[in-house]
């Protein structure tokens, strides 16, 4: 443990922690999007999936327990990701104490330059999203027994849908740079796949985002509706 803490003191190690926790969150985001796509199969399929998450691991573990293990794992990943990002951001501010009177950007992508604020938008969204569809505290007619109802009636509000869409576009940029950056940070650049790293990042950022954005759009268009 003290060895691990010693390792974490190094900014390079913090970056690796950011990359590994980011990959865990990426895995979650992909699974989350695919699970939500069940709403296209109707109310029953969607609610069954939501219930399935709670009965995961039964009968070996009690109802709802494995879901909590996953939630704690995700929470730890989020905290590590943000903590390392915060510490490295402070370090980077200190490393340029006097700024340039004139500064040009040469080839840094828009995505790379918006990682920090993009991250803050995503964090705000995640908090809102949990209060909206997990706890229901900001949902006008939340029904804990019917997730499908909560999603559809929630997205019928244009402003709510719009916020979901904007936040997921921010996530797209974050994922695009994050995924590519992860390969660099972890030293994964074997010639056999080196050229595929950017296309991979672009493809997965696009897939996740198109999937996620399609849900509010489908509700607004009346493709997915309450029965």
């Amino acid at each position: 443990m003290s060895r691990l803490m010693d390792f974490y003191r190094s900014p390079m190690a913090k970056k690796m922690v950011m990359a590994v926790s980011g990959v865990m969150l990426f895995g979650f985001v992909v699974g989350h999007m695919l699970g939500n796509a069940k709403m296209y199969l109707g109310e029953h399929a969607f609610n069954e999936y939501a219930e399935g998450l709670r009965s995961l691991g039964e009968p070996f573990v009690p109802h709802g327990q494995l879901l909590w293990v996953a939630r704690i794992g995700l929470l730890v990943a989020v905290l590590l990701h943000i903590w390392s990002a915060w510490q490295l951001t402070l370090l980077n501010r200190r490393a340029r104490p006097v700024s340039y009177a004139k500064k040009k950007t040469t080839q840094a992508t828009y995505a790379s330059r918006t990682m920090r604020w993009g991250g803050v938008i995503i964090l705000a969204f995640v908090i809102y999203h949990l209060m909206h569809l997990t706890f229901g505290s900001v949902h006008p007619n939340f029904d804990a027994t019917n997730p499908f109802h909560n999603v559809v009636s929630g997205f019928q509000n244009v402003w709510v849908s719009l916020f979901y869409i904007v936040a997921n576009i921010a996530l797209a940029f974050h994922l695009y740079h994050g995924l590519w950056s992860m390969f660099q940070s972890l030293g994964l650049d074997h010639p056999s796949y080196k050229g595929l790293r950017r296309p991979f990042a672009a493809l997965f950022a696009t897939l996740v985002t198109v999937g996620n954005i399609s849900f509010p759009l489908a509700v607004l268009a009346g493709v997915v509706k309450l029965s």
Binding site: M12, A13, N92, A108, S112, G187
Partner: protein, 248 residues
């Protein structure tokens, strides 16, 4: 042609500095950027003012001594070109040009455009060497080196340590420099005995200095006068991780 220059003037390390405007600077399009500064300095000396201090040595693009921010870009607008190899024909009559020193916590300003880059020297001392027996030179081809590796090591070895990467990086990070130095020796057979100590040592020293942390903007690569690729950064990260795993 005539240009207007805005130059950072600072009398010493702990003094306040400011941008000073020099209007109507006469230049010949064939002059190098440094000759243009030389000429301005002659004018300043005749006027009884202090000449602008700037670093330079070889003036042929190989020593890495020169290097200033020109309009917000390290070494100016031309790719793979040091400040000394930049010519005034790249600018137009009437242009307004901003000239600033490298800005980094690890590179404190000594005077005007001159910064102290000894942080780089300390990174080199922490592992930028190989151990060889003394005596007469061994046969050149005694140790075979695969062509691909020789080429790649040579690409890394072209780093002249000018510091443009740190200057351009929005984080003031030294990853491109350090990775070029780690990779250049770490890839060759002669560099194997010290490979892991080198990666851990040089990265460790880099982190001791006031450099920032890489966020893979790749700005460094764009301004490197030798076109060194950020691929070496991934290589260094891998060697650093392996070195840490080995030592634990």
């Amino acid at each position: 042609m005539k240009v207007t220059l805005n130059v950072w003037r600072q009398e010493g390390p702990h003094r306040e500095g400011r941008m000073v405007r020099y209007e109507n600077v006469d230049v010949d399009p064939h002059m190098s950027f440094l000759e243009m500064l030389d000429q301005l300095n002659e004018r300043l000396i005749l006027q009884g003012e202090e000449a602008i201090a700037f670093d330079h040595d070889c003036r042929e693009g190989i020593c890495g001594a020169c290097g200033v921010m020109i309009d917000g870009q390290a070494h100016g607008p031309l790719p793979e070109t040091t400040t000394c190899q930049l010519h005034m024909r790249q600018f137009k009559d009437g242009d307004e040009i901003h000239i600033e020193p490298w800005r980094a916590g690890a590179f404190p300003v000594v005077k005007d455009l001159v910064v102290d880059r000894s942080a780089f020297d300390r990174v080199i001392q922490a592992g930028g060497f190989i151990s060889v027996n003394t005596g007469s030179a061994p046969d050149a081809n005694l140790v075979p080196v695969e062509k691909k590796i020789a080429d790649s090591a040579m690409d890394a070895a072209t780093c002249i340590g000018c510091g443009a990467c740190v200057a351009q990086c929005p984080n003031g990070a030294a990853q491109l420099f350090t990775s070029a130095k780690v990779a250049h020796l770490g890839m060759l057979p002669q560099g194997q005995p010290e490979r892991w100590g080198r990666a851990a040592g040089m990265v460790g020293q880099m982190e001791e200095e006031s450099f920032g942390s890489c966020t893979n903007f790749t700005e460094c690569e764009a301004v490197c006068p030798k076109g060194i690729s950020v691929d070496f950064i991934a290589q260094m990260n891998r060697d650093f991780l392996k070195a840490k795993l080995r030592s634990s």
